[in-house]
């Protein structure tokens, strides 16, 4: 450490913030100041109306190049980032890394350096490895911005923000809410990001519901109540967030079968009736009907699954336009 303690100050700083305390990268919601989160949600609500006009674009990111770097497959998230960037008038370049240089042996940082040399301004990164977006953010030049679009089991901050936006839209105030997150918490970066943002926004009760094998050890330390019995966990809930079974991330048998999982942890109209009568049902998609959610619930009046998608574009527009101006 330098005699003046500068290294200490550097390491203590939130790597997402620039030296003015503004958002430089969006890597995780954990530890993000509340006012930055509220500003993103407020800005998103102003973007919603843009898509109802004759011209569904604003000129903020004219001349900005956004590179979508998806090292892990995802059509939906990549598409929503692409739409968001295009509605901000940015140029969007999609790289399907599975079929490109990485497959030929190029390292992640070499790929990033090459794209930076093509005058990229913003990277949207999805990677199967937790921490990949952080690594890129530490590596790139200071005028570049990195958005984490999901890294391993770690974080999916724009999903957490769009979930928070959806909850705020329907429930207004977080101050008296009971939010229940159900299913495969263990493999879910969506759950982690949502738990962090709900805590930051002052949600008094966040519950996680799932079998022991699909809950991370020590999950209580995130400030949640743990339930293994779905009926008890849903009682009195204002918001029910169903998660997808992440079969692709499971190593070894954690569940007897999908049918068995549905019996205990699938959301049916009968189980939803245990939550508050005005409870909303959310799902980050893609849904497995008949595995974690019954069609009657997914398509029912309490479902806000499709509005989540619409809000997701506005939230990503807000994140990109705030980063791009910092």
């Amino acid at each position: 450490m330098a005699p003046d303690g500068s290294r200490c100050a550097w390491t203590m700083r939130n790597p997402q913030l620039n030296d003015k305390g503004e958002l430089q990268h969006l890597l995780t919601l954990e530890g993000l100041p509340r006012e930055i989160i509220v500003r993103i949600l407020d800005t998103a609500s102003s973007f919603l109306g843009v898509t109802e006009r004759e011209v569904k674009k604003v000129p903020l990111l004219r001349g900005v190049s956004v590179f979508n770097l998806f090292f892990e497959n995802s059509t939906r998230t990549r598409t929503t980032f692409e739409i968001a960037a295009k509605r901000l008038s940015a140029d969007v370049i999609n790289l399907n890394i599975n079929t490109s240089s990485t497959a030929k042996g190029e390292t992640l940082l070499d790929t990033v350096d090459n794209l930076s040399a093509m005058h990229a301004d913003m990277f949207v990164v999805r990677h199967a490895q937790s921490g990949a977006a952080h690594m890129i953010a530490r590596h790139v030049a200071s005028h570049l911005h990195v958005i984490n679009a999901g890294d391993g089991r770690h974080a999916h901050p724009t999903q957490g923000l769009l979930d928070a936006y959806t909850i705020r839209h329907y429930k207004k105030d977080f101050g008296a809410l009971v939010v229940a997150i159900v299913g495969d918490i263990l493999h879910s970066r969506v759950a982690r990001s949502l738990i962090h943002v709900l805590n930051i926004l002052g949600t008094p009760e966040v519950r996680v519901i799932g079998p022991q094998t699909l809950l991370p050890t020590g999950v209580e330390s995130l400030g949640v109540r743990v339930f293994h019995d779905m009926r008890k966990g849903l009682a009195g809930a204002d918001v029910v967030v169903m998660l997808r079974l992440q079969n692709e991330r499971m190593r070894g048998p954690l569940l007897p079968s999908a049918q068995e999982f549905f019996k205990y942890y699938g959301l049916t109209p009968e189980k939803l009736a245990l939550a508050k009568p005005d409870a909303i049902v959310m799902h980050p998609g893609p849904m497995n009907r008949g595995v974690e959610i019954d069609s009657a619930v997914a398509d029912g009046t309490q479902s806000v699954i499709l509005p989540q998608v619409t809000f997701g574009i506005a939230v990503r527009m807000a994140v990109m336009s705030i980063l791009g101006g910092n």
Binding site: K57, V58, G324
Partner: protein, 164 residues
């Protein structure tokens, strides 16, 4: 320094605009002071179409320099602007950059037949070729100061001089 009386200027604008605003005229105010003035003009002129409001943050020409404005409100134009005569209302006309941004935004709602600019005060010092067809008054603002419109709890309008 004696500032112009906002209430008197507003009453004068209402008188002058009576002939200019027809039953099909649309009115749009620019946040924040412009929407206060527009609310007053809209009511006193008895315009039939609902009032529109623009927050021009997504159209500012200083975004690259200054970033996105800290609090952005949603713009709302609750009528079809295509083929319509519009009154665009702001409180203080200065460099002209806000009006340029507002016109760019309006054209993303459609193609108006015409846009007429209404301002309570024209403080001069324009940086763009823009002028108000209806200005309450002209008033030179001392260097380093900003002229702002206030609205009190009773809805009364007043001008205030702030440090820029």
């Amino acid at each position: 320094m004696q500032l112009p009386d906002a209430e008197a200027l507003c009453a004068d604008l209402v008188r002058r605009l009576r002939g200019a605003a027809g039953p099909e005229t649309g009115m749009v105010g620019i946040h924040t002071g412009g929407t206060w003035l527009a609310e007053r003009l809209h009511r006193e002129l008895g315009l039939a179409l609902p009032l529109g409001a623009l927050d021009i943050s997504f159209y500012r020409d200083d975004y690259r320099k200054s970033g996105l404005h800290k609090s952005v409100r949603a713009s709302k134009v609750p009528f079809d602007v295509n083929g319509r005569h519009l009154l665009l209302v702001d409180d203080v006309l200065y460099t002209g950059r806000t009006v340029r941004a507002a016109m760019n935004e309006l054209f993303d709602y459609g193609r108006p037949e015409s846009i007429t600019l209404v301002a309570l005060v024209d403080r001069g010092e324009r940086q763009l070729p823009i002028c108000a067809q209806y200005a309450g008054t002209t008033f030179a603002v001392p260097r380093g100061k900003m002229l702002r419109l206030d609205r009190d709890g009773a809805g009364r309008l007043a001008l205030r001089l702030d440090d820029a």
